[in-house]
């Protein structure tokens, strides 16, 4: 909700009135943001409010659903990007974005001639024409601006020649030339305006980010010159081509930017709407009251506009011609990690179908910024990314003060420089947010000065300074959407963070922000990282080192951070786990039992992993775990463990291992109708026809919590009025006969004992009484349920075996599950083995062991040697292998078995939700063929490939049986004379041809109903299929 002050000017007598705090609309607020009521609350307060303290926030609640506006990845705006197009032409493109306009300017080098492609022109324009149109009529000046290197001159020559061929010498001629090339959109434009079109395009659209004041084109010319210089550099030297996938050339658009964009558009729409309605009002001659604009403010334009956009995910901004879909998603509440992971997701700018490897590949520049592991498999692989643990995305910073600061630090203004001086040796161009600010003679000096100011907190901590030696440029950036991360500053290889700082942090005197303020830590963006020499650990620093990493495990994101010893695993395994961690059942939040989720998977006894990582502690996975520590024996057992299947101990399952709760939501609405009548909920009948189905109903007509609900049970005894349109004078006094039953019955799978967990009475958006039932079902693991460890090693339960048949160790320890050792050689998940060792050691010594990524040198991960020592101390073999007895014969096994606890996740894919079989059942109305899909109790399709097999085998009768007899057999009357279908006349007991009007030549035959349908459809489009029957 935003209240805005506005000024009201009344007509006639000129009085200016102001009215404060007028509501123009309501804005959804991101949870736990600064405006949110949950902001800065401590754990107890959040608990009191019924919120989970571990919930990350960052999403919106719109129309009762939680929605995230996903981070959007885009190419940098207002930056020169040199690239090659599909045909191999060198291209320089600038996507300009200002408050007023968005445009894309492309410079293309085609057959040695440089041309400009702009949407507003019908064809590419020679660059020299543009230069001349901007007032630089002398070719020499252009060459000077680009630089006097003769190689550049040679490259520019064809362009100059082209211009001459077009007979363009002066600015006037250039503009006239351009005028002919301007696209004519419609004829409505006045001819007066036409004259200046070319000039206005050059001024406002061409490189729109370089502002032109009073037709002062010089900054734009220099900008063009810089672009040309970079292009020629790229022609001469392939390295100068920019990498589009380089993270430094990318910007992440956060929800704030997205909403501000939408808000601006809606606000302008609202203004024009207000203007229109006021105009309408003023046109009317007979106005009684004085005009008060505040009465005409339409509040719902902004409110509804934002609500619609967030709930549908369609972003339509008319001004920028932006139509984006799928910007928002419903927050995943499958597990806690899924929710947190969802907040860090980054959507790509291009569509997923493109089969290109470049943007999907792992970029070295994403180190520490974007998680190298967490990306989906399949079509979106490598395109959808996730933020790393410490990544910060910048927001826009004010430009004005920074520009004047740069000038006072010795940046020579562009205005005062001649073209010749621009590229003088030893001087660097200063680029500020894509604009050329001027040049500086001592680039390093200037950069260090700016950095010092930043560390002192005088300029924003997210301003980045980057000296590009190759391009002889200093890039200063304060724009939003850059990714950056904190690093410890080191002076000559000595970290600024000392022991006493860390002590203070531990005691709690110091916070992270104190470190930042005191200049011990600073944020570096991707570009500035190129000017830094970053040591992984302080011990590895050399005198040239400028920064030290805070912790190497922070290069991973939240999902990958759960994996213990990920640096010992084969990399794809970590990626698989990132996807699977989101499907693991466990806890979703502290308030999970107060929520009304439509589908919720919970583990009955979730545990904290025995082998933790620092990320787990930081995120809170140890408090909201999604898995259990299972004692795993790595051995082959029973043959029911092939292909990654696992053998489970029945007694473990009896004790509650892998037991889960599934809750589903049912909704019933007590509808109000237009004629003031409404639905009613009545007492259940305790005797009579439906009494049995109404057993679970309370006297209020609703299912009672705790009752076992079976299929076809009625959970709400509702009646709705028969007459819903015609108004009734006493809606409350309707007789019983005016109502018809509108009961709702539960349709669950048979044999499942579900229970009504909770009943909530709320109201929906139209103020109808809305009743929600939560149906709970407790499941114990069964054959075919899917489990996985934290190393991308998924497997289904292959068999469940009695504990007495299970192998046991010298101490009587019996494993909870048995995993086949063949899962290891090809997967190379050494991390899992170390997890087993660490878990075993942890169990025996009573301490949680750590396995953070790359954590061995810094003590955040235990070394195998140390773990082995602990094992030996507690009487286990150093290798983690135990002497095992067979539970069947009682004699020892002829191998030592690798056994110990591993954290196992139960994944949401369960057999109960998937198993399906059908003999006969429902059919589709149109074709009379069996329905498709489990949800419709559909048939199992004998597809084309199966049919091919049968044809090849020659099993024609089987094909006949599958494709017709068991599918859609139909008896038709065929007229042998005309070959068309007739009908059966039951009165005459004979088939009659409707075309021949007799029944003389009728034969009865069987064919698939779909075939008959095809004939009729063909007939309806004037194609006559005729059947020619022959005696078989």
């Amino acid at each position: 909700m935003v209240s805005i002050e506005y000024t009201k000017g009344s007509h006639g007598d000129i009085t200016v009135a102001t009215k404060k705090d007028v509501i123009i609309g309501r804005l959804p607020i991101m949870l736990r943001s600064r405006c949110c009521v949950l902001n800065l609350r401590d754990e107890a307060e959040l608990a009191r409010l019924g919120e989970c303290p571990l919930d990350p926030g960052g999403y919106f609640v719109v129309k009762g659903t939680e929605k995230v506006i996903l981070i959007q990845e885009q190419l940098s705006k207002n930056r020169i990007i040199i690239d090659k197009d599909s045909k191999g032409h060198l291209i320089a493109s600038v996507t300009s974005s200002t408050d007023a306009i968005k445009s894309k300017t492309v410079f293309i080098l085609d057959k040695e001639k440089i041309r400009v492609v702009l949407n507003q022109f019908i064809k590419p324009i020679p660059i020299m024409v543009i230069m001349k149109a901007m007032g630089i009529e002398s070719d020499q000046e252009v060459v000077q601006m680009i630089g006097r290197d003769p190689r550049y001159g040679v490259l520019l020559l064809p362009s100059i020649q082209e211009c001459v061929e077009e007979n363009v010498y002066t600015q006037q001629q250039a503009l006239e030339y351009l005028e002919t090339k301007v696209k004519r959109f419609s004829f409505s434009y006045g001819s007066v305006e036409k004259e200046g079109r070319a000039l206005s395009i050059i001024r406002d659209v061409f490189l729109a980010n370089v502002l032109v004041r009073d037709l002062h084109f010089r900054p734009k010319c220099i900008y063009v010159a810089v672009i040309l210089r970079r292009m020629m550099e790229a022609v001469l030297n392939k390295d100068a081509i920019d990498d589009k996938d380089y993270v430094g050339n990318k910007r992440l658009e956060l929800s704030g930017q997205m909403i501000s964009l939408l808000f601006e558009d809606l606000f302008k729409t609202m203004n024009s709407e207000v203007k229109k309605s006021t105009d309408n009002l003023l046109e009317k001659s007979s106005r009684s009251s004085k005009l008060d604009i505040s009465q005409h403010l339409a509040r719902d334009i902004i409110t509804h506009g934002l609500e619609r956009a967030i709930s549908t995910g369609n972003w339509d901004v008319k001004r920028f011609k932006m139509h984006r879909k799928g910007m928002t998603q419903v927050v995943l509440r499958l597990s806690f990690i899924a929710t947190v992971g969802h907040m860090t997701r980054i959507l790509p700018q291009f569509e997923k179908s493109r089969k290109v490897s470049g943007p999907r590949a792992l970029q070295p520049s994403q180190w520490g910024m974007l998680c190298p592991c967490d990306t989906p498999e399949g079509e979106a692989c490598g395109l959808v990314k996730n933020l790393s643990l410490m990544t910060h995305v910048t927001t826009d910073d004010e430009e004005g003060p920074l520009i004047s600061l740069c000038h006072s630090l010795g940046v020579e203004d562009l205005e005062l420089l001649s073209g010749e001086e621009l590229h003088a040796p030893n001087s660097f161009l200063v680029m500020f947010n894509g604009l050329i600010l001027g040049k500086h003679r001592k680039p390093q000096h200037f950069a260090t000065a700016l950095r010092k100011l930043r560390r002192a907190g005088i300029i924003g901590e997210f301003v980045s300074v980057f000296v590009n030696e190759k391009q002889k440029c200093i890039y200063i950036a304060s724009d939003g959407g850059r990714v950056c991360r904190p690093l410890v500053i080191a002076d000559k290889g000595i970290s600024r963070v000392k022991e006493h700082h860390m002590k203070e942090l531990k005691v709690g005197i110091r916070t992270f922000n104190d470190f930042l303020r005191d200049g011990l830590i600073e944020y570096l963006d991707v570009n500035e990282q190129n000017n830094a020499l970053i040591a992984l650990y302080e011990g590895e620093a050399v005198p040239e080192t400028t920064h030290v990493e805070i912790e190497p495990f922070t290069i991973l994101g939240v999902c990958a951070g759960l994996i213990p010893f990920p640096h010992h695993n084969q990399s794809p395994r970590n990626t698989y786990q990132c996807a699977m961690g989101k499907q693991a059942m466990g806890n979703i939040a502290y308030n999970q039992l107060c929520r009304m989720d439509s589908l919720l998977y919970l583990l009955v006894y979730p545990q904290r992993p025995l082998l933790t990582t620092r990320t787990i502690e930081l995120v809170g996975y140890d408090k909201l775990g999604a898995g259990q520590n299972a004692t795993v024996a790595v051995m082959s057992y029973s043959g029911y463990d092939i292909e990654d299947a696992i053998v489970m101990n029945k007694s473990s399952l009896d004790r509650g291992f892998g037991r889960c709760i599934v809750t589903k939501k049912l909704t019933a609405i007590n509808q109000k109708y237009a004629n003031n009548t409404m639905d009613r909920i009545i007492r259940p009948q305790r005797v009579g026809r439906d009494a049995e189905r109404m057993q679970i109903l309370d006297d209020d007509g609703l299912a009672a919590p705790g009752e076992i609900i079976r299929p076809y049970d009625i959970y709400i005894n509702k009646q709705s009025p028969i007459n819903k349109e015609i108004s009734v004078h006493s809606p409350a006094g309707l007789p019983d006969s005016a109502y018809k039953s509108a009961i709702q019955t539960y349709k669950g799978p048979r044999g499942e004992t579900a229970v009504v967990d909770r009943v909530a009475l709320t109201s929906d958006k139209d103020n109808n009484l809305c009743i929600k039932f939560l149906i709970r079902h407790t499941r114990r693991p069964e054959l075919g349920d899917k489990f996985s460890s934290r190393h991308g090693q998924k497997g289904v339960c292959g068999t469940i075996i009695q504990q007495e048949d299970f192998p046991f160790s010298e101490r009587g320890i019996c494993p909870d599950l048995i995993m086949n050792p063949h899962g290891f050689p090809s997967r190379m998940t050494i991390g899992k083995m170390i997890e087993l060792l660490g878990g075993k050691a942890g169990v025996s010594c009573g301490r949680f062991h750590y396995g953070s990524a790359f954590g061995e040198p810094s003590g955040h991960a235990d070394r195998v040697e140390v773990i082995s020592e602990t094992l030996v101390k507690h009487g286990f073999s150093y290798s983690g292998k135990d002497f095992i007895y067979s539970g069947i014969t009682g004699s020892p096994l002829q191998a030592y078995i690798f056994m110990g606890p591993i954290y196992y996740q139960k994944l949401k894919h369960m057999v109960l939700d998937k198993m399906h079989a059908r003999a006969s059942g429902p059919r589709v109305m149109l074709t009379r063929q069996p329905t498709e899909g489990r949800s419709r109790d559909g048939g199992l399709r004998l597809g084309e490939m199966e049919r091919d097999c049968l044809i090849a085998y020659g099993a024609s009768m089987l094909i006949y049986e599958r494709l017709m007899v068991s599918s859609d057999p139909f008896e038709v009357q065929v007229c042998r004379a005309c070959g068309l279908l007739g009908y059966y006349n039951y009165k005459l007991k004979a088939g009659i041809c409707s075309t021949c009007k007799n029944g003389d030549n009728i034969s009865t035959m069987k064919l698939p109903y779909a075939c008959k349908l095809l004939f009729q459809e063909l007939q309806s489009m004037n194609i006559v299929p005729r059947l020619k029957l022959a005696e078989a």
């Binding site: 029911y640 007495e804 048949d805 069947i888 014969t889």
Partner: protein
């Protein structure tokens, strides 16, 4: 139930319903120790069925006779184990109480 042949009674398979390794393995042990047995073994055809098949082949004696003897041997052994165990427990209880008395003063 016995699955054998009329002609040759020296080898046959016995199906024990509602039994598992517990009995079958013990019986196999007892059978193996019998000098009349040339081969014996057991299998559980399917984990979902509570059924064991015990195969007995003898040097000539009827297989069922041999099996019966084995099972009876097993019973005798069990009785002996129980007796010995009970005795040992009683002994230890006595000695334990003696120990306890020693500690008290």
């Amino acid at each position: 139930m016995e699955h054998g042949s009329i002609k040759d009674s020296s080898s046959s398979t016995f199906s024990f319903a509602d039994e598992d390794h517990t009995l079958a393995n013990s019986v196999r042990f007892a059978l193996n120790q019998d000098p009349r047995v040339t081969f014996c073994g057991y299998s559980i055809p399917h984990p979902a069925d509570a059924l064991v098949n015990i195969r007995v082949q003898t040097t000539g004696a009827p297989a069922s006779e041999v099996l019966k003897d084995a099972v009876q041997d097993l019973m005798v052994m069990c009785q002996h184990v129980r007796d010995t165990f009970d005795k040992a427990v009683v002994d230890s209880k006595v000695s334990g109480s003696v120990k306890a008395m020693k500690i008290k003063p």
